[in-house]
Amino acid sequence: MTEDSDAMVSLTMEDDAAPAAAGSAADTDAAPRMRMRARDVNVFYADKQALFDVDIDLALNKVTALIGPSGCGKSTFLRCLNRMNDIIDICRVTGSITLDDRDIYGRDIDVVQLRARVGMVFQKPNPFPKSIYENVAYGPRIHGLARKGRELDEVVEQSLRRAGLFDEVSDRLQQPGTSLSGGQQQRLCIARAIAISPEVILMDEPCSALDPIATAKVEELIDELRQHYTIAIVTHNMQQAARVSQFTAFFHLGELVEFEATEQIFTNPHDQRTQDYITGRFG
């Protein structure tokens, strides 16, 4: 696919295209195209403000890492991107966030469909109390994306393959998802998320509950998934941000301190606070 074709399909939700195919613009040096844009995002929990005027763009086929000390608002921001904050009654979001240039808080956007297009992976693996197969088939089923039988089997297999889990579980698809190890569970959750072909995947500290070996596997997976999806990842682990991301945003006390290419942030930060954080003075 070329840049042109990307631009063509990006404008409206109805005729939106699938995620860019493998080996596309991701590896070119041209300025990355933005999939999601956040401008002046403020978040309030009742009277308490949790985020102050955050501007961040998520680039197509890139991994954007959100880092910062705990309580800095990075997870809050992530949850704005698929409107998961809607389920918290006292939470209020202002500013604009667009997905392919359409305001996701706009009236014509349906939150159910938005979440199908912006998938999410959580801190703790949370497989549903169902079989491995049913966990992955959950999304396609509720959105009616595949007919029962071979079509669904195919989707499930494909998603598990993409998540690099298929070979490990192909002989026990009917066993409960909770029977897997922690790392496998997290990859199952990733498979579950990509089974409905989202355009963006949000990951909220996806490795914090995993051991180092499982973490390495998931990080490898993230790098591979980047070729198909736009990814945002919250992490408290700076090495991880450096390893997997192309862009990094540093949050501190609800403010976006710095948003730059990852290399830039880790080698030559502009802000003193960023410098202090990545050198381990606080956090």
Binding site: M84, D89, V112, Q113, F128, P129, I142
Partner: protein
Amino acid sequence: MQLTILLIAILALAVIGLYFGRRRALSAAGSNLGKLHSMPGYHGWYVALWCGIPSGIVLVVWLIIETPILEALLLSTLGPVVAEQSEAMIGLLLNDVRNLASGDVVSREVDPALQAAADRYASMKATAQAAVLAIGLAVGGAGFGWAWRRIAPSLRARNKVERFVNIALILSSCVAIVTTIGIVLSVLFESIRFFSIIPFWDFLFGLKWSPQTAIRADQVGSTGAFGAIPLFTGTLMITLIAMLVALPVGLFAAIYMAEFASPRFRNVTKPILEILAGVPTVVYGFFAALVVAPTFRGIGESIGLDVASESALAAGVVMGIMIIPFISSLSDDAIVAVPNSLREGSLAMGATKSETVVKVILPAALHGIVAACLLAVSRAIGETMIVVMAAGLAANLTANPLDAVTTVTVQIVTLLVGDQEFDSAKTLAAFALGLMLFVVTLALNIFALHIARKYREQYD
């Protein structure tokens, strides 16, 4: 009453012990309180316990053995007159003597012999009680003296008092066990006696229940049949109807409360629903018998159906209403216990709330909900007042919910309320039914608690 006097005397003695024990400890310590091993108050308690406990034991022992001993004495004075009488007649006679002695009504003409026996009984009782009073006080006094003399600065009064408290605590917690054993023994013994008259399998699988036995041998027409199947089916039918009402309403209400309702709606509605759980069952019984049953009958008449005035339907529906809060609060607990991460995981997939509930939360809470249902069934099976007031007495073997059926609990009440002779199969049958009830509800409860525990482990 002598025993009340004894009780008061024991308490008074203990209070005096409390005071003097303390004083003696203080004076033994002299000016140097530090010499005492324990605080003076513990010395007081030490004396109080030593005079209260032994005399208390005397009192309790006497309360237990009073009646048997007095009766044995009385029988020995009555001598040959009663020797040839049957055991039941002797029991009746003793009962009359007891009642006459305490001035109650008796079941027969009062002849001089009976009056004399009663007088003798009364005088024996008075003598015995005076003796117990004396013994009790003597024992208490002795304990007082012994403990009082032992008080010295080196006495480890605190440890001794605490050891006593410890034993008392253990005894209290054993009351629950004793209760269970009491239940098992009391229903088991009578049931065994019942099954020696009526074979166990006839009881369990018999199809005919008519417990009216002939009191006199020459009486006709009432041989008594003790086949419990009609009672079991009746109980099951009413339970089933109750669950058909309570399960959908209770479960949907719980889901709505836990997942959809605004906090304000929940804060108002939940306590109101809990009122339903606090309404005494006799009130539900009244509601079933005087409001619901006539209404159902009226509706049945208007559409040409023959609804019995004590239909299983009315009792079942009202029992269902009673169980609604039970199911809804237990299901609510189970739903709330489902980790939030599952809820978020499903919503983040673009599922709607109802899809999340049906496909993720209910399967996750299934164990808890099943446990709630089992407990509810157990509750329905054991529920008494609603069916006593609204269900029938006749044991019909029927599958028609518009007919009258009877239940196990109804029959227990009918068999035991009113005049009863204690050894007949009729009264013993009530205990056999009680045994069935106890075993079934116990099994359901244990099973439910087991499921609930496994479920809790799943998310801990």
